[in-house]
Point group: C2
Chain length 204, copies 2
């Protein structure tokens, strides 16, 4: 689907143990370097040096830096799956509110763990890159759809409401650190966003 598999190099040859290890080290270096700079300033030569290999080696496994980040984004995206377990059953009352808190908290933990890759994924998706859009959708669509199933149809469009809530949660997860300087603690953010989610989902 991504045009990138785990088992083949770009020239089509089978990947052995050594090749797989090199590929992994290149990915890890890419992920690490992405935390200290934007993708625009991430040079193949830097990644190669970090791994202790030559730039030409990088091109054995990835077409360009973007493609390496795409692989990372696909890997990371799957870690949002556990959030789906919260989006089941009855969301009315205090039990639902607690689920909302855990959902919001889960978003923040997810983002804190993979901030650099997720930021870059959304950036590329927003710039129109279809591959990154697909990866982003694969990660968020199940959450959005599960949430939409919980929103009662009425004045609100379930799809629009679920999309809006996911957008809000994702954005707050991405930004919550900046809010501290404005006087909103992490706990404030979780509680407030959870309240908005819960009220939207349970209101008539």
């Amino acid at each position: 689907m991504l045009g990138v598999t785990e088992d083949l190099a770009l020239d089509g040859r089978q990947l052995g143990k050594r090749g797989a290890a090199t590929r992994r080290r290149l990915l890890d270096a890419t992920s690490q370097l992405l935390e200290s700079r934007g993708i625009r300033d991430l040079r193949v030569v830097d990644i190669a040096r970090e791994v202790g290999t030559s730039p030409a080696t990088f091109y054995q496994y990835f077409r360009d830096v973007e493609e390496a980040v795409l692989v990372l984004a696909a890997e990371v995206g799957e870690e949002s799956a556990p959030l789906l377990q919260l989006l089941t059953g009855d969301w009315q009352g205090p039990v639902g509110l607690e689920k909302a808190r855990r959902l919001v908290d889960g978003f923040i933990v997810f983002w804190d763990a993979h901030r650099a890759v997720l930021r870059t994924r959304n950036l590329a998706a927003q710039e129109g890159d279809q591959r990154f859009r697909n990866v982003r959708n694969s990660s968020l669509r199940p959450v959005t759809e599960a949430l939409a199933r919980i929103v009662p149809p009425g004045e609100l469009s379930p799809i629009a409401a679920a999309s809006a809530l996911v957008a809000m949660m994702e954005r707050m997860a991405a930004f919550h650190i900046d809010l501290e300087s404005l006087g909103a603690s992490r706990a404030d953010v979780v509680e407030t966003v959870a309240q908005i989610v819960h009220r939207t989902v349970t209101a008539s």
Copy 2:
């Protein structure tokens, strides 16, 4: 504040009529090209060719492509000011709901008019560029603060709630076109987001 003035070239000389016109044409070309590609693929040589001048001329006015986009972002950011007029008075009841609708609609109109520049502004801000963060904050902080003043303190942190709502509105304005293919029309988005905003602002 931006380290970029309207009256001086980068070498410090005074800008005359011809220089100001060239600078403006470079900015317009940058804005236009930004609509068909991401900033990563926007070359100085393309902007120069579009204007019918040489790359060296570009560097008379801007340090790099990013700086030209920064100027555009600062210009565009000021157009969000009219939204502040809606964030006054009483937001209870149907009058408040109508204000919410206009606020959400205003966000969407704003984004539809300046999608490329706003997208790039947020992208650079998210990547940590402080200059773009400042420009983004200058545009959104007044809206966020005005909204926070309307949210009654209680279970919700006004600051967190206002930030979350602004995040939601901005994101929906950026994404609403993609939602059409999921079955949520522009009208659905406006109404649904307006409802969420209104309910959050008026609930106990």
